[in-house]
């Protein structure tokens, strides 16, 4: 699925943060590529640098060393063909659910058209928030807020979708539904997806490839291609191969503790 120019390329990336009490090496020697229209999941222990990886891709921060390229161009600032689901919901507290979802249009172009509103309503339904369009974020549950963030990232139909634990606050069923919804969107409007999750099953179920990161300083210790047939659905979960992948990855992630 990858083409000549990869969608994302990390070349010997290192990231060091200056903190109140010294410095902290978050990433060390990351080399990886994500092909165009590839769906890559990232697994790794808490604090290993997954969010940092994602922020580097988005151009929100710049690496201490190495280069990040997107579609062959070095990233020096955020790009507008990238949609991000942040780890925290990050909603505008004064805007309704609907306004939060169409916010990218308002923010980029200054205006929200009737079709934008329509698109917003469709997305509200897709993330299961019918009837909550006029509510303020403070009036939503944690999981509902997270879904608003997802809808907002999908709103601009970006080429690259970066998702930082987007389903972490959702129950198993909603999570599964949202996952399949995401796959449907991805298949209908192909895009490159980088998907951080703590659920091994979810990673295998959704992704073309799973990257596993080590403890801090984070580097990539496994790069596993998931050869499960597409389209995937509920029955994929019963697939023997899927269980093997999950078992293998679980073993890998548990091993580090020993």
């Amino acid at each position: 699925m990858s083409t000549a120019v990869p969608a994302i390329r990390f070349s010997s990336i290192g990231q060091v943060f200056r903190t109140g009490s010294g410095t902290l090496e978050a990433l060390r020697g990351i080399d990886m590529t994500v092909g165009r229209h590839e769906f890559v999941a990232v697994l790794g222990p808490s604090g290993c640098g997954k969010s940092t990886l994602l922020r580097l891709t988005s151009g929100l921060i710049r690496p201490t060393s190495g280069t990040v390229e997107v579609f062959g161009h070095p990233v020096s600032e955020p790009r507008d063909d990238i949609g991000i689901v942040f780890q925290k919901p990050t909603l505008l507290p004064w805007a309704t659910v609907e306004d939060n979802i169409v916010f990218p249009a308002r923010h980029k172009t200054g205006r929200v058209g009737g079709d934008d509103r329509e698109k917003g309503r469709v997305l509200i339904a897709r993330v299961g928030l019918q009837g909550f369009g006029k509510q303020l974020p403070a009036e939503l549950s944690g999981g509902m807020q997270q879904r608003v963030g997802i809808a907002r990232a999908l709103f601009m139909n970006p080429d690259i979708l970066l998702m930082d634990e987007p389903f972490s606050a959702l129950d198993a069923l909603t999570r599964e539904e949202m996952g399949f919804e995401l796959l449907r969107i991805w298949e209908a409007q192909p895009k490159t997806v980088m998907f951080i999750t703590h659920s091994i099953g979810e990673a295998v179920l959704l992704a073309d490839r799973v990257l596993v990161m080590s403890e801090r300083p984070g580097h990539i210790v496994e790069n596993l291609r998931i050869e499960l047939p597409r389209p995937r659905g509920i029955d994929t979960s019963n697939n023997k191969a899927m269980h093997d992948y999950v078992g293998y990855l679980r073993g890998l992630l548990l091993k580090r503790a020993a």
Partner: protein, 281 residues
């Protein structure tokens, strides 16, 4: 004090008591805009009247409100309106000019620390210069129309606006700024759609401070150069030992400030209700 109660539907309360309801009616009446401020104002007048009588304060120091009433008759209504209008016109022009200057300035200052460190001292200098001391320069430079008065009002009001708005613009949570940056929106939209809404509480705190300063500014300006206006009237009456007239002017002036302050408060309540915290009884 129970901050979450406000968001619960008390209409479904389990034990709706009679006394509760009556108290609620009272509470609603009290909450109606303008009721409490008006009540307070009347209370001030009552206390004032009482102290004048009880302590037998000579009326040339502090005339009782009932005596001040006489002062209102000193000039006719048309003339009063002229004075009020003169002050109001200058205060409002200066206030809006000041807002028009402060907003872009604050935005500039919030964007560059170097700039802000370099420009703040200028602002402090302007703010710290007593208007009276530079009155000759202002008048010679600006003539003697409304202009010098508007400029003086501006000079007096802009500082709180700039300081508070700049603080507010920079207090926006970094994750919302990241959101904006990730959308690659033009900077002005980051400001208008994220930073400014976020700074609204700061902005209104400054607008409230500045509205009363605007009146003060207009009054000070009238001390410096004017033929009309409440400040002029008060000072003039004082200098001629027309104590009652001076206090009558003062009451009108204070009422004007109160009303303007209430208007600013009402604007925030009406157009930016989300910027008001709901966690008070």
């Amino acid at each position: 004090m129970t901050m979450s109660d406000t968001s619960e539907a008390s209409s479904l309360s389990v034990r709706p008591e009679r006394s509760e309801t009556r108290r609620q009616v009272m509470a609603r009446a009290i909450r109606a805009p303008g009721v409490l401020p008006a009540a307070t104002f009347v209370l001030i007048l009552l206390v004032w009247e009482a102290s004048c009588r009880v302590f037998a304060i000579p009326s040339f120091i502090l005339p009782a409100p009932t005596r001040v009433l006489g002062g209102f008759g000193a000039v006719d209504t048309a003339r009063w309106l002229e004075h009020v209008w003169a002050t109001l016109r200058v205060a409002m022009t200066g206030y809006f000019l000041s807002i028009a200057i402060s907003l872009p300035l604050s935005i500039m200052l919030s964007r560059s620390e170097i700039l802000s460190r370099a420009i703040y001292p200028i602002l402090v200098v302007i703010q710290a210069t007593p208007v009276v001391a530079i009155a000759p320069v202002i008048i010679v430079a600006l003539g003697s129309g409304d202009l010098p008065r508007v400029v003086i009002t501006c000079l007096i009001t802009f500082f709180p606006l700039v300081v508070s708005t700049t603080t507010g613009l920079m207090a926006t949570p970094p994750e919302l700024i990241e959101l904006s940056r990730s959308l690659r929106a033009p900077v002005f939209r980051e400001i208008t759609q994220i930073r400014l809404p976020y700074a609204v509480p700061y902005l209104f705190s400054a607008l409230k401070i500045s509205i009363t300063l605007a009146i003060i500014g207009a009054v000070v300006a009238e001390f410096v150069a004017a033929e009309k206006g409440l400040g002029y009237y008060i000072q003039f009456s004082t200098s001629m030992f027309q104590v009652q007239q001076a206090w009558a002017g003062l009451i009108v002036l204070v009422l004007l400030s109160l009303i303007l302050f209430q208007i600013v408060t009402a604007i925030q309540r009406f157009w930016f209700p989300w910027s008001l915290p709901g966690d008070r009884t």
